[in-house]
Each structure stands twice: as structure tokens, then as C-alpha cells.
Amino acid sequence: MIPILDWALLPLLVVLSSFVPGIWIMFLREDQHGLRTGLNMAGAIAKFVLVILMLQGVAMGLSYEWRIEVLPGIAFSLVGDGLALLFVTLSASLWLVTTVYAVGYLEGSPHRTRFFSFFSLCVTATTGLAMAGDLFTFVIFYEALTWATYPLIVHRGSPEAIRAGRLYLIYTLTAGTVLVVGAVALFAEAGTLDFVPGGALDPEAVAGAPVRYLVIFFLLLGGLAVKAALVPLHGWLPTAMVAPAPVSALLHAVAVVKAGAFGVVRLLHSIFGIELATEMGVAIVVAMGAGFTIIYGSVRALNQDDLKRRLAFSTVSQLSYVALGVALLLPASHIGGLVHLVHQGIMKITLFFCAGVLSEVLGVKRVSDMGGVGRRLPLTMGAFSIAALGMVGLPPMAGFISKWYLGIGGLGSDLPWVVPVLLASSLLNAAYFLPIVRTAWFDDRNSEWKDSGRGAFLEADWRLVLPAVTTALLALGCGLLAGSEWSPLGWTLLLVERGHL
């Protein structure tokens, strides 16, 4: 067995593996393409390898922790535990493919040094946030994520981009402030900020000051819900679609939205604990909010003609599956929620990759212009179709697995509306995804494409197509091989088995 001490730095190394290239790139000249790409790829690969190492260690029953004390009683701590690894693995692997995609996507555009620098910092913040061992560290990375993402959203420098960036900052920074106040209040009240599986708070203490803890809970939830895009705090997300496609992909699948959802999971699991949250009656509030968001997002997605906006509202809807699953006091729903965190990421990133290819190669941005794109871009649209079907929840795609577990949980819960909501949502999913697939494959070409003709070898630049295909296959694999120990489901089941949840 590997001695733990030697490996205690592993979480820190995972964070640094993208932080160092990020800072380094910042000081490169604009024309140092080779070095920049090299740094990016090296960082991405290093992070992936480190995460795999850590994954193996955790699977063997180890856990990793690195901490320094910042304030008396408050530490900056990075922890590699099961739940953290679920998210870290997702972000590390998706970052790898997104990097390849982004290099191809942005070729020839200005300010790439700045872009890739903040791109790396963004992932740094996400991995740090995933491995945060306590709320203090979580807050640090949560805020850092905001700053790292802002330059990416305004990257194009257009008035819409700047407006979107401003809206994003207004939402997220206010939320960040609320989260900080909540965290401080929690520390002042409970004296601890550690994440503990099953809940860090003493139920008796909570019973002693119920109102106070209720306020704290909602402060924290409010801070997290904005990034998680829970209705009515989702306003920034569709607007942020002006960002370049790799950024949207990152925002929706890997970083920001996921960070919010993951935060809700941490809040319910590791701070309050599900049982306590249920007792306080707050879990049901979360569940109801999530249920409403699921329906609302789907309905709004129905009548968006802009492809990326439709995908954005889909994210709003899908992300709430996670919150809903976690908020229900049942193992099966937990498993469904957590697995969906991963599955949704993989599928949604595929969709955004494909949307990026469409707009970049053909100039197609709207669903109504998509007639016949499947024949021009068969690989891309194949990937898109797999992901879309997965989103709908057709077996054997990844989405089916998570919805299955959620459904079981819903049936078992004493909330009668959960199953109808899931059913309705699936129908709505189908209603807004299937027409796209149909239009792409079966309709005739109905608009002028500005075909850039890039990538004579494949249907488009290989760096754009390959990532999309890879993640689509990944999504398919997650569904087909769900029984495997190494699938997201397998990992989640392992966590349950170990009592981490």
C-alpha cells in the first residue's frame, strides 16, 4: 500500500497542474502559439493523469488531504474524497477534450493568450472547488471561478458580450457575497466549516436555534442557486451564450453551473446532512424549487429558435435533476442525482461542441436553419444525436441511467409530484430535442450556409470534430457500461457502499 503522507500533496498538484500553465500563459506573447498550446495540453494531460492516480488511490480506500491553517480554526484544505473525485474526474477529462476543441475553435482569433490563460484558471478554480475540504476553501474557489470566467464571457469584446459579462457578474458576485455572509454566519454559529459526509452540524445545536440555522441555510442556498441557475436566479445563463462555444461548453458542463449544483450537493450532504435538512423542512423547499425549475426550463427551451439558447434553457432544466435527486431522502434518488451531475456534463458538452461546429463551419446558429446539416456534417450530427437522445433519457444512453434511478427514488418518496414532474420533463425534453435531430437529418437544406470549407480531410477541422465524437462515445459508454465498476454509476454506488453519502 502506498503511504498516504507521500501522496498528501496530490490534491494540491491537481490544482496546480492547470494553475501554473494558466499564469505562465498570461505572460506569453500573442504569437507564441506553439508554447501556449503545448503548455495547455501538458497541463490538461498532467491533470488527467494525476486525477486518475488519485482515483485509483481512493478506489483502494485511501483518502488525500492537504491543508494549511489560514485563520484560527479555519483552514485552506484540499481533499480527495469520493464525492470530490466524482466531480474532479469529470472536469479533468472534459477539460482535456475542451482544450483540444478550443485550440481548434479559436485558431486565428485575437487575444488568445488572455483566453487560454483564463481558460486554465477557470479549470483550476473548478478542480479546487471540487476538492474543497471545507466551506471556506469552497468559497475561495467559488469566487475565483467567477473572476476566471468573466474574461472568457466578454472575450469577444462586443457590446452584447460586455453586457452579458456585466449581468453575469451582477448575479454571481451578489451571490458570492451572500454565500460569504452565510459561511461566516455558519462559522460564527457552529464553529466549524468542514465538509463531513452525512452532515457536519450537530442536530441538537440546530434544534437550539432553528430560525438562525434556517437563515444560514437559505443564505448559503441563495449563494449557490445563482450559479446552479435555479429559477428565478437563472437570468444570466441564457445571456451568457454570447461567449465562444468552448466557453459555453465549459460553463454548462464543467465549471460554473456544475459548481453551483455541486455546491448544493455539498450543502445538503456535507454540511447540514440530508436527514437534518429534511427535519428542518428545507430539503423539501429545495426539491420543490428544483421541480419547478425542471418544468420551467424545459418549457422555455421549447420555443427558443437559437440553438445555444435552447441548450442553455435545457441546462437550467437538467441541472435541477441533481438538486432534486439530492434533496429527496432516498438512496436511489441520490444516486440518480449524482450520476446525473456527471452524465449531464458529458452529454451537454457534446451538444455545445456540435453547436460550435455548426456555427463555426456553416454559420448556422438557429434551429430553423439546420435543415440538412446532417448530410454535410455526419459525424458532428451523429454525436449531437447521441447526446440529444441521451438527454431525453432513451435507453441505453447515459441519461437513461440517471433518470431511472431518479424515477425509483421518486416512486419511493412520499412526494406525489416527483414522478409526474420527471415524466413531464422527459416528454418536454423529447419535444425540444427530437425536432432538432429530425431537422438535421431529414429536412432539406433550407438556408444559405456560409460554409468555411475548413478541414478538407474530415468534414471539418479534426480538433473540432474529434472532441465531440469522443464525448458522445463517452456518453454512450457511460450508459452501456453502467454496470462497470469504473462507470460514474459504479463509482457512485461505491460511495454509497462506503457510507460516503
Binding site: 457590446p159 460586455i162 453586457r163 456585466r166
Partner: protein, 118 residues
Amino acid sequence: MSTDLIYLVTGAGVSMLGFRGFVTRAHLFWKILGINLMGSGIFLILIAAPPRLPGGEADPVPQAMVLTGIVVALSATALALGVALRVAVRTGRPYLEEEAGDPVDHPTAASEIRREME
């Protein structure tokens, strides 16, 4: 009423007269005069207020302090007069002008920025 008391009250009066002059007059020279008088009044308090030695001598420590204070006031006056004269050169008038547009130096800044952002 002893000598000390008379000068104590005088000190309070002179210091507040000086302070008032500083506040009410716009001309820089009178402001500087006001500060000087304020200092003189405080010096009087400093000597007249503390208890005397049994022999009736004044406490030597405040005397030393006032001696220091006189030199400090002199230095401050010299520098202040120098700057005041330069104000007269630069602005044409030896007054403490209200800065144009203070406290908001560009009232249009906010609106201009807002317009640009939209």
C-alpha cells in the same frame, strides 16, 4: 482669580478665536494666522492649566513642550506661506477655492458610461 486662571480663560478664548478664523475666512493668509493663534491659545492653556510647583514656578515640562511647539508652528507657517504664495501664482488668487466640480468631478461620467454600455 489668579494669574493662571486669567490666562487659562484667555487661552481658551484665543484658541477658539483662531479656530473660528480658520473656519470662516477663505483667504489663505488668514487661515494660516488662525492656525497660529489657535496654537498660541493652546500653549497658554498648556502653561496655565497644570499645577504649579510649591515654589510657584511653572512646570518645566510644558514649558519645554511649548518651546518645541513654537518652533514647530514656525516651521509649519513657513511652509504654509510658501505653498499659499504658490497657490496665488498658480490660480491667480490666494484663496482656498472650491475645486471645480468637486465632489463629483465629472457628473456625466456615470451616464456616459451607462450609455456606452448599452
